[in-house]
Amino acid sequence: MRWNSHTVMVAAGRVVVLLVILGGAELGIRSGALSQLFFSSPTQIYQVFVTQLAQGTLAEAAGITVLETMLGLVAGSLLGMAIGLVLPQLRVFSRVFEPFLMVLNGIPVIVIAPLFVLWLGLGIFSKIGISVYIVFFAMFIPVYTASIRLERDYVNALRVMGANQRQIFWKVILPSALPSVYTGLKIGSGLALIGAVIGEFVASRAGLGHMILYASGTLDTPTLYLGIIILALFAAALSFLVDALGPVLVRWRFADEK
């Protein structure tokens, strides 16, 4: 990226927007124009942040949600990848299971969540379960579709070279699914967090979702905002992390065009 007048203007514009929002909230609350029940000023939120940080409650809540999300993302992605890659190789199985998977995928996750709580309890396992469930489909569908549309010429070329089934899997089938794995990770990373928080909203004793829900119930507006901001920052960091995996997973798509 070149550091020209255009990029400077964009960066400056972003800073201005942020300052207007923060300053507006601060002024609004101090002047009494905005109700403290519905809004909080940046300084109020910061105070809650400092207190909670000192008490260790914020780190605990965030740590639990981050753990649920990451485990859900990793386990759901691996499961989605494995089944998405293997199922198309087993023609009959894939045709048997396809409608079941499509129906399962269609069920809104919010109505499935209570089932996971029932099965796995109030702790982190039910949240991980919900996360795995939605991440699985985010990964499975693109990988499965890519595996079905596998370039037959590549497989034939390797066969003629004398490759066995194992070599064909590792050298053609898996790498040709990697762009879809990347897509799955991008979608799945957002869904993993949604799954964890939905679980916490349905029934929980800890986590950022629990903190937000509790703050809402006790009309503790600054804590409510703090929870939302921490979640947003985590979501942004996660998406940044997944984007950084692109050049590793699909390096040929990121290579120079010349």
């Binding site: 010429d153 390797l158 066969r159 003629v160 004398g162 053609v172 790498p175 120079d256």
Partner: protein
């Protein structure tokens, strides 16, 4: 080297059995270039898949070095119509692919691939990905990949169809020279009469589906020519072109009849 003996191939379609090849017999002798030409969709590519063992003839047999084909053979190397360079591998990794499959050591693979890439004008592109190469260079890379395995028999499935006319002449020339220099046998499937005459020692003309051998032409002058372009400039060239074209018999009337 490579012989089709009364080879037939059919597959079960939705309603009826589709007969693709019927009693095809011809032979590619050692260090000979044979072109197979026929109307599009007549089963030329199927013929090659019988030789590589990807398909098995319904009746008759295909012999490679005197033995019936049973699966992929080390004696055969194939160049496909569309690029089969794997997009996620660098050019070098692609050239090494066949050797890697055979389990050759990294250092040995690298050495052979580097030498071949230098020979085919790919030096400096080792670490590029295939999509960064021109069509002609992709073909060279695919050729290097195939030749790295040192096959005695080269099978080519309309490999130059997607190239522009000039690049095509150059690559056709290269392939003929490589083949002659390495005393390799080559079976070239094409729909291009000029390509067939200018590259091959013999041309097998197939009929439309179910494909049978209509006629086999000897091209006595191509072996002595200096280049593919030279063959096309010879006075005999147009006479042969005419004869092959007449044998193919892809007239407008016949096409309309087939469509009706």
């Amino acid at each position: 080297m490579l012989e089709f003996r009364h080879a037939s191939f059919a597959f079960a379609g939705r309603r009826e059995t589709v007969e693709v090849l019927r009693d095809v017999s011809f032979e590619c002798r050692a260090d000979e270039i044979v072109a197979v030409i026929g109307p599009s969709g007549c089963g030329k590519s199927t013929l090659l898949s019988l030789a590589t063992g990807l398909r098995t003839p319904t009746s008759g047999e295909v012999l490679v070095e005197g033995r019936p084909v049973a699966g992929p053979s080390r004696a055969l190397g194939m160049l496909f119509q569309h690029s089969t360079l794997l997009p996620w591998r660098s050019v070098q990794e692609n050239v090494e692919l066949g050797l890697e499959i055979r389990g050759e050591r990294r250092a040995a693979r690298r050495k052979r691939a580097t030498a071949l890439m230098r020979q085919y004008g790919l030096a400096g592109f080792e670490r590029k990905f295939p999509h960064a190469l021109s069509g002609g260079m992709q073909k060279r890379a695919a050729l290097a990949q195939t030749l790295a395995m040192e096959p005695k028999i080269l099978l080519l499935d309309e490999p130059f169809a997607a190239l522009d006319a000039q690049t095509r002449l150059v690559i056709e020339d290269d392939v003929v020279k490589i083949c002659r220099a390495g005393r390799r046998t080559m079976l070239l499937v094409t729909h291009d009469i000029a390509e067939a005459i200018s590259m091959a020692d013999r041309i097998v003309v197939l009929s439309k589906r179910p494909a049978t051998v209509k006629e086999i032409f000897e091209i006595p002058f191509s072996r002595d020519a200096r280049s593919v372009a030279d063959v096309q400039a010879m006075p005999e060239f147009s006479a042969y072109f005419r004869r092959v074209w007449d044998t193919l018999d892809i007239s407008v009337g016949a096409a309309a009849e087939a469509a009706a």
